[in-house]
Subunit: 463 residues, 2 copies
């Protein structure tokens, strides 16, 4: 069956070998989304193993959300994770927005054309020039102190946070932060609670570590904390300042409930604050970290603010995790290179980052306004907006519509890249009338053209 090869001489149990082969094939796309797995009976017969072996492998795949099975239906490869892999924000493989799409509403894409390249280039040059010779050697897993001090100042200026540079750890971006958290705290079979929908790509580190990922529903205000329950979770992964992808800000009551739940269960809260630099009205949202620095691990990044290839992020860690973090980072990739660290510290020290964020906030707010206005003109009362006025994308709902495969096929044909919220759902079927529109990287004309295309496709396929 499919050329699955099991090694009976191996010290790895057959069920584990089978699970691993199928998992790898799903993750690398050899088994595409929606593919039906053979029945346990027929696969067991073909592989000459007990049916129990196949059942256990399948159950593990189901538990990890890699395949779905509904009573009475066949077992299929889940489509959430894979479409994510091909289409999602920060994890897309090499595929610059090109002529393949007429309009690309991909989420999580900052505008690169307005980035002050020359200033950065000079800053990088100065950084290499003034670096003490020792920094050409290893300078430690925590990251350079001047950068950590500047980030401490930045957290205060941008979010009102009081954090010591001692508790800040530089990472090679937010993805690595999640990877290291999974490596330090995750363990086979442990439970990780996540928002549903969420940035499913960010869960991969937990899945690769063998954790069980349990979805908790999200509404307009973010995580529904009254649905927190179940076995004690090691980790709760959440985006409280701007829920990804639906955009809610977690209200104070839910924040308190969440922290209480985490304390009672000894869970760590992983707070991913991926884009709160870009709020277009009201004060900055105070991070959860301000409520509890013992249970909350705060994850920040400069990829959205500056440019994705920078690969510099940071975590704010509770003291008791410092030793294990340093150990894991040392044996993962030792440290960040120093040049970007020194340059970024400079950029922060001279308030070049503050200036750039102020400028881009205006640019993005403008684009958002144009998008909302164009949607209003095109769809009248047919649609609603979700979430807070923040970030680089918009979640919109069309009550009564169902975005079906025919719709997305038409989008592809017409050159419109647009993702359904459904792509980011672990439990399928709850968000079928919602779409995500990434607008950060698009000029006004492209936004208008995209909405026109969307309108034509909706009229053509759904009305």
């Amino acid at each position: 069956m499919w050329g699955i090869e099991l090694n009976r001489q191996s010290d790895i149990p057959l069920k584990r070998q089978l699970y691993r082969t199928l998992r790898d094939w799903i993750l690398n796309g050899r088994l595409p989304a929606g593919e039906t797995l053979p029945s346990t009976r027929s696969l067991a017969r073909d592989l000459k193993v007990s049916r129990n072996t196949v059942c256990e492998a399948y159950e593990k795949l189901i538990a990890e959300g890699l395949v779905s099975n509904h009573p009475g239906a066949s077992t299929r490869v889940a489509d959430g994770l894979l479409i994510e892999k091909a289409g999602a924000a920060s994890l897309t493989l090499s595929e610059p927005p090109g002529p393949r799409y007429v309009v690309d509403f991909q989420t999580g894409q900052p505008e690169l054309r307005q980035f002050p390249r020359q200033l950065w280039q000079k800053t990088l040059y100065r950084a290499a020039q003034k670096m003490p010779l020792e920094q050409f050697g290893l300078s430690g897993p925590q990251g350079l102190l001047p950068l950590r001090e500047e980030i401490s100042g930045w957290l205060f200026r941008s979010r009102g946070l009081n954090v010591s540079s001692m508790d800040i750890f530089i990472t090679a971006g937010a993805t690595q932060a999640l990877h290291l958290i999974a490596s330090a705290l995750g363990e086979t079979g442990q439970t990780v609670l996540v928002e549903d929908p969420c940035h499913t790509g960010m869960l991969q580190s937990f899945l690769n570590r063998g954790c069980r990922v349990i979805p908790v529903a999200v509404d307009r205000q973010g995580l529904k904390t009254d649905e927190l329950s179940g076995p004690p979770a090691s980790i709760i992964y959440i985006t409280p300042s701007h829920q990804f992808p639906l955009g809610g800000i977690l209200p104070a009551g839910r924040r308190a409930a969440l922290v209480r739940f985490a304390r009672q269960n000894g869970s760590y809260i992983v707070e991913d604050d991926y884009d709160s630099e870009f709020r277009y009205s009201g004060d900055p949202v105070a991070p959860l970290l301000a409520m509890d620095s013992e249970q909350v691990i705060y994850v920040g990044t400069f990829s959205k603010v500056l440019f994705p290839a920078l690969r510099v992020g940071y975590v704010v860690l509770p003291r008791k995790l410092h030793p294990i973090w340093n150990e894991r980072r040392t044996y993962t990739d030792v440290q960040n290179p120093p040049f970007e660290q020194v340059a970024l510290a400079d950029f922060l020290q001279h308030r070049d980052l503050d200036k750039y964020v102020r400028k881009m906030r205006r640019v993005y707010a403008d684009r958002r306004r144009i998008l909302l206005q164009t949607l209003q003109e095109g769809f009248g009362h047919q649609w609603q907006v979700w979430g807070d006025a923040a970030g680089l994308h918009l979640a919109i709902e069309f009550p009564g519509l169902l975005f079906n495969p025919e719709f997305f096929k038409q989008c592809l044909t017409r050159g419109l890249r647009i993702a359904p919220v459904e792509n980011y759902c672990l439990r399928k079927g709850q968000h079928l009338n919602q779409l995500l529109i990434g607008y950060g990287h698009l000029e006004a004309a492209q936004i208008r053209q995209g909405v026109r295309l969307l309108q034509e496709i909706i009229n053509h396929t759904l009305n």
Copy 2:
């Protein structure tokens, strides 16, 4: 006992919780090297768990080499791993050679003072200048093509290897390469065969992944392939071009035996070619990769050649591992930053690297000659050299001497940093008369002073 806390409500078995707590404490230094673990009986009583639970946790620690137990003796925290952590080459935490040591014979330290900083700085500036705008966005987990093409050329020029840029994957250094290999191929309970002694820090990724590490003895020629046996291993980790730390070059017969063994057992050979740029006599050693590109994963780095903080290495991967590698890299830290990649490609294209390696080969060969001569003058027939004329350190043996704790205490007192080969051994007690001298970063005067100090300490404590 020691404040160990077990959570009886957790879905993680108690033995696993206990194992994990002890492992973390050993790795973060809370349980120092040599510390005696309580007897299984007394710990079981104190924690109110079955003795079996404690035994299983201890057995896992023993299997991973974290604690040692000899029949009739108490169970103690192994000292190999920990001294390694504090003292070894590429994994040292922030601790530049400073006034703490009068002479620092640490291994794996390249000379930084002769690095052409200005040239590198200009190259970095040019790289940032000519980078296409897309490269400020994500450019993919495999690394930039121009760099991979230059590395392909470099592998041919420096080692006679014919490797396609398609099979080269850029990493954030050799440590990350090992980490990703463990992540892609390692699985709890799987077997990894390693040289003994070896760069024990490099094993940490396998241990963190839950693999069983099994030592295979090394003699003057490298891995004793006639001792390869045991359960099928997933991975064989080896340094055939210049065994670390003893310096042997694996002879052709053993190479063939190793590849045969790997093919028969379906094992991958991880070939760590950490310093073969620096050979001072004879032709370059042909890597194992030349014998088998299906079973061999080749790991290279530029940290030793240029400077440790660069964080650029690479692997040459068998085709069937490409998809899983890209998946793991994407969810580990996405990609390297582009600036160093473009700058290094430039450095290679203009043959600046070739020139620098030629220059440093002369510098290091000189230092090696001075070290050997000074040792000869100081110790006459009392000592022997091990290994090939290559690299940045020397393994030496003093037949009949035993370097005891008193000796190393005296070294510390007198300000001499020098490591016993024993630090890198998994099975203890076989290499007690051998020392490692890192000389790459030391001027002639420092080398002579270090040997004088060594002579005084040996005379004082051992003769």
